[in-house]
Symmetry: C2
């Protein structure tokens, strides 16, 4: 193997067959297609694109994305304080929105320190309670920084957020505006649960009744007090077309579109029309087998692939005949470090051979790895460390 630069776990131009498995692969042509396709879909439709970094959790990948977009993407979302630090400090992103609440002085201080250390960057965060506003104001004052604060409105997911029709929306906006170290950034209205509604018509109904109605209700009550948010943000890869159609949001937050995953591919339109392609795969090795039983044991179990959204599909990224032979093969976890394929035809996948898995949910799967490799023509082209996996 070529000597490795000391700062990379895998050398650029390493052949696929030399990778230690299990490994996380991203196919560059598919990734590039997805990246450009999303910008093209959103362009000129009245909504800004703010990709969600919780999909990749990587400073290096952020740099790639910002460069690739030729300046068309400027802001990004994060879901944890650690992601926020990585995307700004390592990724060079100048406009980040943590689409979650923080509720301790420690967490607020980390955000404020980040903003202070990067005065050219805008650091935003959500609130749904008066105490969070106070904590953020204290932290920003101490760090001599400004924080951007958005009010989260519950879009029907019953997770975080104040109810759209409650007086809390107005009172939180007033509380933010009363703090000189905080800027009111607008409203965050997102529903994760409806991203996976399969039929486009059902999804349109869900967006209309969920985030659409919640945003309208909150905007109406604010407008009675002459308040109009700059930004109404939310949405994701699953509801993107419906978010654009409903039109309440002027900022969209898709993340998974870059990688896709098995579960999004089950949405009727997302892959069927070639809009986005699967780019993220797990690369695994057959470590044991029983040919007569059609069984192959892989070195990729529940520790290698998030299984909460269902088992991965087995396929081949470079051998169409193998992919076809694996069409009816099933995967089951055989423990944390074993994945068991059943229904494998004789002679297919010999001991020591590799196979690729399509994870059902990309975000928590990426979280299991220290790095991912971008692959083109069977060679490693990029190595992106997953800086903000964990916390």
């Amino acid at each position: 193997m070529a000597p490795m630069p000391s700062n990379l776990p895998v050398a650029i131009r390493t052949p696929l067959r030399q990778l230690v498995t299990p490994a996380l692969l991203v196919l560059m042509p598919q990734l590039e297609h997805n990246e450009a396709a999303m910008r093209s879909l959103v362009r000129g439709r009245g909504a800004n694109l703010r990709p969600h970094a919780k999909a990749h959790k990587s400073g290096g990948f952020t740099r790639w994305l910002l460069e690739q977009s030729n300046g068309e993407i400027t802001g990004m979302c994060t879901q944890t304080v650690g992601e926020t630090e990585a995307i700004v400090s390592l990724g060079g992103c100048k406009d980040v929105l943590l689409t979650n609440e923080v509720a301790t002085d420690t967490a607020a201080a980390r955000l404020a320190s980040l903003a202070a250390a990067h005065p050219a960057a805008t650091v935003g965060v959500l609130v749904d309670h008066r105490l969070q506003v106070e904590m953020l104001a204290r932290a920003a004052a101490t760090a001599k920084a400004k924080l951007r604060v958005l009010v989260e409105v519950d879009a029907g997911q019953d997770r975080c957020g104040v109810r759209a029709d409650s007086p809390e929306v107005l009172s939180l906006v007033r509380a933010i505006e009363a703090e000189p170290v905080l800027d009111w950034g607008g409203l965050h209205v997102y529903h994760g649960g409806i991203q996976h509604v399969r039929a486009p018509s059902d999804r349109l109904a869900a967006v209309t009744a969920g985030p659409g109605e919640a945003a309208r209700t909150a905007l109406r009550s604010l407008s009675e007090h002459k308040l109009k948010p700059q930004v109404v943000t939310g949405g994701g890869t699953g509801t993107l077309m419906e978010d654009l159609q409903v039109g309440t949001h002027n900022e969209l937050q898709p993340g998974s579109y870059l990688f896709m995953d098995g579960d999004y591919a089950r949405n009727e339109d997302l892959r069927a029309d070639g809009r986005f392609f699967q780019s993220l795969f797990l690369h695994a090795t057959v470590i044991s087998l029983d040919e007569s039983a059609g069984k192959r044991v892989l070195d990729a179990g529940s520790k290698a692939c998030d299984l909460v959204c269902g088992p991965p599909l087995a396929t081949s990224i470079d051998d169409p005949a193998l992919a076809e032979a694996l069409r009816d093969v099933t995967y089951a976890s055989g423990g944390d470090e074993h994945g068991v394929l059943r229904g494998v035809p004789p002679g297919v996948l010999p001991l020591g051979s590799t196979v690729q898995l399509v994870p059902s949910h990309c975000d928590p799967t990426v979280n299991l790895y220290d790095y991912m490799v971008g692959v083109r023509n069977g060679l490693v082209e990029h190595v992106w460390t997953i800086d903000a996996r964990g916390y």
Copy 2:
């Protein structure tokens, strides 16, 4: 906060309330009890104790364990090549058994290089196919090292391993013995699925019919050829008492006993008789709440806690009244970064407060973190990096 030494993510003596959440806690008194209790249970029962490092994946924790045992524990198990490297190189363990197959020259070369770099250490691994023996022999010869090789016999789990009554058992032993760079270490006979059989009587039947019968069958066929393995190894925390009773194994491999987990606690005897105590907890913060609905949103979702074996239990490690108030509270994932508690009484768990979760399965939960902290009297006493999380 006290200044952090540059090599630790958390300073020793940090108070619990200053930890960044979600965090992985190990309560030292419970850990120490479990560690001593296991040695005491196994001592003088005709079986050697080889704790499994897949529970903690940590070189530093390995050092703690070896020191704590006063020389009574000398060997350990691992489940991946990366764990094997960490436990030998960072943990100083001189006798390691990778209880899994490897099936590529790359993986075999890593094991052989490890053995070559640590000539005082014994590095063992399993085989269930002739090709694996050949790969290991090639790698050991190249590295000028010796590897210890055990034959895995299927104990009924239908994962890896050759059938106990097949001629493969003998032929693999002969193949290993024919290679001068390999030592035949014995038989590995383990069944992961029966670790969680709830009733001790059912578990005894499962051990007798599974690993017990498989070991007897394989031993019988080997003895016809005057072959007797030094070691028959297997077993785990769940079946420990039954493994001792059945008596086919002279080496046991429990790992979870040090931490325990929600699922093992559901085995009827394991916690009921005070044999082992829960020592591993997730430390999480309430980031959002709806008092009137009994809802608290934690910063610990499916990315903070393996959910494959079921949701965690909410409790308090230092407030018995709070633990009692949380007895009927349920946890559900609200996404990768959100955990939702429901049924929380009014006034309990205010915004920004912390709560502890008991994960259902410790191994893959530990895998989600970069480090765990050992806590005594509310202060951090140990910081163990989870060196071999990932691969």
